[in-house]
Subunit: 313 residues, 2 copies
Amino acid sequence: MKYAVGVDIGGTTVKIGIFEENSKILDKWEIPTVKTNAGKQIITDVSNSVKSKLSEHGISMSDVLGLGVGAPGAVDENGFMCGGAVNLGWEPFNLREAFEKELGGITVKAANDANVAAFGEMWQGGGRGHSDMVAVTLGTGVGGGIIVNGKILAGATGAGGEIGHIHLEDDEPDTCGCGGHGCLEQYASATGIVRLAKRRLAGDDMPSVLRDGEVSAKTVFDAVKAGDKLAIEVAEKFGYYCGKGLAAVANVVNPQVFVIGGGVSKAGDILIKYIEPSFLKYAFPPCRGAKFAMAELGNDAGIVGAAGMIINN
Amino acid sequence: MKYAVGVDIGGTTVKIGIFEENSKILDKWEIPTVKTNAGKQIITDVSNSVKSKLSEHGISMSDVLGLGVGAPGAVDENGFMCGGAVNLGWEPFNLREAFEKELGGITVKAANDANVAAFGEMWQGGGRGHSDMVAVTLGTGVGGGIIVNGKILAGATGAGGEIGHIHLEDDEPDTCGCGGHGCLEQYASATGIVRLAKRRLAGDDMPSVLRDGEVSAKTVFDAVKAGDKLAIEVAEKFGYYCGKGLAAVANVVNPQVFVIGGGVSKAGDILIKYIEPSFLKYAFPPCRGAKFAMAELGNDAGIVGAAGMIINN
């Protein structure tokens, strides 16, 4: 039996998994991300943890097909972190080469964490059976990952699939985190949904359950499911912009499927009901056939995708 | 010496070229596109013409690395023409397999003509030295082709890179050819520029050389170069929308370079001056580094790209 290792480096913990070559997970665990000293220790910590766990399982390095790794920053085709990783304290360097060195020259593949998660969803999750896919992460921000013909689209500076800042609205007064106005992220992220809800609540005094407690993406969609009219208006606005943004994406890369993940996606299939009408309105007819599916792997998408880059390359 | 054949099937003529494996063109010629009988004869005509020309040059089939072909319709990764080719009378069929059959099983690669031309520009034209490129064709309509990591992005239904119908303007009263309102093509194509110019001319009676003759993309940009104020306003509007549309493209695929071709591009570098400010305004910061270059291969881009798919695969 041969094995692959998947690593997902986050700002607080590093998730690691050992996978059998048939894609079955053998073991998964986490170690803390030590960010002191510009994060220099992280790669050594991960490598030592991997070596020790492989040894526990009686797996020799010669039976390891390789290690895949996702990191929170732009990573180009060669495994170079173009802008470092702000959340880890990393300056620009070659992540792939650093792991190769620590692990005695085994095959290493490195990519941006969102792109790796997208690859995982294609291999084992909501995008299974497809080779042209766009993963859309509706979390604190809006991120994404694009798979073209079964491969990650990294982009010139590792920013491929960073769809959150597509401009959609000329008349947006609020400023986006990127400095722009009217970005997809301002309407389709958890933060954006709260912003839309608060703006709507302030607009008049229409009754709504949202007036009585915390306003979050979750409470908004819970209220939608309970038939709250104001919440439904907010969901329609969310869907209008999200559909319009994904139509632009479809008009560029013509995917088979969009896989929706991130915290907001916990609301479930109901999101698609609000996204689809606007998507169909703005997508070019040959690109309208793209399906919508929900992400399935949750927090494991990163380690699954990282191992998948090795096993399913 | 080994050779590759490049074929570019158009609605009036088929362009064909024989290339040496070092990329040098040995011969190029055209044959008429016979569209009668649902275009069934085209592939046989092309194959016979290729065989006869190879024979003239004393090249045996065993020295031919393969044949690349671009056709005016959506072509998927497998060479299947998903929607046929309206301009040729073709119903959906597998173009790659049809040529393989006619040519005794040599390697054949087929793709959409705009994507093939984009590949040509990457290999030998304005995108030389780059592997992540977007070709933008500003002609009667707006088309394009996307190259990711040196390969054509075909898309799920062969519509990858068909960027002309990205929605950019909510307040556009005129209807686009696709049925939508406010598509990139309505502002950045030759037809779109004429539309913008006529609308501006009708707006008031500001003097302009454009009032005295034919209004075309060429006369508009000639007037811009001569300092005509009204024409400059039209060019600014063109540039605003074109830059905004290409920013959306950059935010999805993060290319190294945009290569601008098509009839409108005959105006030259001046286009970039009008596109760039809006591009920089709307592009996500990590994607702003994309360069702009002009297409260099003109009508040969198709045969060069088609041969390139064989030689530079």
